[in-house]
Symmetry: C2
Subunit: 453 residues, 2 copies
Amino acid sequence: MQRLLTSVKRVLQVKKAMQEASLSPASLLPGAHQRFSTVPAVPLAKTDTWPENVGILALEVYFPAQYVDQTDLEKYNNVEAGRYTVGLGQTHMGFCSVQEDINSLCLTVVQQLMERTQLPWDSVGRLEVGTETIIDKSKAVKTVLMELFQDSGNTDIEGIDTTNACYGGTASLFNAANWVESSSWDGRYAMVVCGDIAVYPSGNARPTGGAGAVAMLVGPKAPLALERAGIDRPFTLDDLQFMIFHTPFCKMVQKSLARLMFNDFLSASSNTKTSLYKGLEDFRGLKLEDTYTNKDLDKALQKASLDMFNKKTKASLYLSTHNGNTYTSSLYGCLASLLSQHSVQDLAGSRIGAFSYGSGLAASFFSFRVSQDASPGSPLEKLVSSVSDLPKRLASRKRMSPEEFTEIMDQREQFYHKVNFSPPGDISSLFPGTWYLEQVDELHRRKYARRPV
Amino acid sequence: MQRLLTSVKRVLQVKKAMQEASLSPASLLPGAHQRFSTVPAVPLAKTDTWPENVGILALEVYFPAQYVDQTDLEKYNNVEAGRYTVGLGQTHMGFCSVQEDINSLCLTVVQQLMERTQLPWDSVGRLEVGTETIIDKSKAVKTVLMELFQDSGNTDIEGIDTTNACYGGTASLFNAANWVESSSWDGRYAMVVCGDIAVYPSGNARPTGGAGAVAMLVGPKAPLALERAGIDRPFTLDDLQFMIFHTPFCKMVQKSLARLMFNDFLSASSNTKTSLYKGLEDFRGLKLEDTYTNKDLDKALQKASLDMFNKKTKASLYLSTHNGNTYTSSLYGCLASLLSQHSVQDLAGSRIGAFSYGSGLAASFFSFRVSQDASPGSPLEKLVSSVSDLPKRLASRKRMSPEEFTEIMDQREQFYHKVNFSPPGDISSLFPGTWYLEQVDELHRRKYARRPV
């Protein structure tokens, strides 16, 4: 905390971090995944102005090891085939047993990120959690995550939790980037954690659930830099090589991209309109408020935007399609999916548009500039490689029947306010290296343990 | 949101703000209090480095219009005289009826700040709320506050809510300052809002309750600047002209200052020790862990530090003594109290140390540098004048009996999860200009109204 009157403690810590980084990387915990360092392990030099290209250096996704198939759910719920898989665009839904809660999800994803990047635990100077899965109205998830840093002696980490529906992840990311650009920055990395457990009552909304978490390392010289400057004209989709959205369900995203195209159509010159936006001419004169519910426009827009959707957005929906909604981390799961589905060469130099939304409401439309350097060993190549195992990891999950899924959802409800218990279930059903809830005591204190890697 | 690809909307808004500021200040709502502008109404020019002296430009405190006297509570609870008033250092405790909740408290304090400063509503570009009084686990208080900005058309305001026990106000303040120093800053002011309703079950903890909220305007050229640089040696209390603390109850603060002095004693040279820290020599060899519970040391420390407490800290406890604990806003109520109890000349050029703490835990020790300019009309003089009515406002509250207080606390519990009701009570018991809860409908939606000024 740069605003401390005395910085002696920090100087000592940074020295320690530098020593550890150069002398003993092998002392770090072994990682569950491919091992390499995406980012330089030595803390960065502090300057008195904004450092360059502040953004995302590393990114880690966690999802539960079990899912329910949406075609199974369609049958179980006695709805027509395709209601969930086509109508919502959802094929599988991840879910947690009572053994997992928002704290365990975040513990797991932070540990994964630290192990994959092989960073010393005291190279993190800020940690902020965005979530709307609230166990405790007062205690932050961040304070639980501090347990991971305990052995390193790193108790000097700024940041707490932030909340507004699904917007918390983006708020945390912006706060982290602002910190790096401010005089408060102490030269260390910021870590942004977001995650949620989305459960709906049985019925129409239930198949739009999901569960997961994302951790991101934020600092300068990032392969995914948050763009600072606007452009001096209204932007169109042509300015974006890729476009990702907060994803309650995938079909909504396809409609959102179509809507952006409609905006482009309305503001384009007459010549452009006819040539580029085929089939939309009939809807030119509609009042804005009438466009929201017009089904003919809806169809025409989806048709007109299909190529663009396939090119700019579809790949970003890989995780959402297979795992469902994860609220605050949904957008960043889309970012991970996009990186996992494109080559480094395709991504290099591109601009990724991002729309984040939280009910209530708070929303931001912003963009990442992907670095130009696609060479092997470049920060971009390392970042992209680190998420390349996403499809394989999703495919390794266990398929559960709708009956088992329903029983576990009922269990979650039953245990929600319970104290003095150990969650039922077999820890071997979790991915290796997963943190889980071991016990809740009579004072509601939660104790966590980790399944060995 | 500077990270938007197109900034056209903002440019239009800033233009509008500038026009309103220069052309029609009279169109703003009339204020309940003394009217003057503490801060320039025109948005500030954006630079590509950190602006100077980012900190607090204006500050507003709200507390409920009713209180219970702690001597009455001592009798009512059958405890010895002085248990609360001397033992805790608390003389009065403010409390809310069912008519007030965390949203109404924050609505009131934001409206007060905007009216007192006479700023246009679209001069605010960031609004963040720190609280641990959670009505809704997902929706931010900030989104409720956006209703105040609706008429101005200012929908472009960054920030959501932040939570970790009593630390949320400080996290919001740091986030706001970081934003102003970052590339995300759009040249407008940040507003930090913190507040809580502290209610304990009947018994020993109950007299440590309270209720209130603070709003702060954050920007460059502030009379209370957040200090950026540390000093290159361990600081002592001599480096601080004033010292304020998070205040669960006032006696704890007196002990905290005493503990800081003990730290100074331990690290001072032998000569200094004997001359400055009288009566502490006997405790020089104690193990650190034994010092926490040693009652003789406690007494000796309080005696040795009494002059320093009276000089540097006591004035900051005015609001806490008379209103009680307000969690996230406690420290900033202390800041307001300090400003209200000292002359501009006393304050000018001083350094105010601040210790913020939230259970769980998160804590920061930081400092404000007060501007040198104490001349009439200076930003500092305006800020100090704006809080000078604090004692008068506290004195104007209504004294309620312990029986009435207890009945209202029971009512709050009874209505906590209720829907479809209008809170009982007379709005004339609120201060003029106070927002209050008018209705909660069957879907838990809360509707607010304002008592006329």
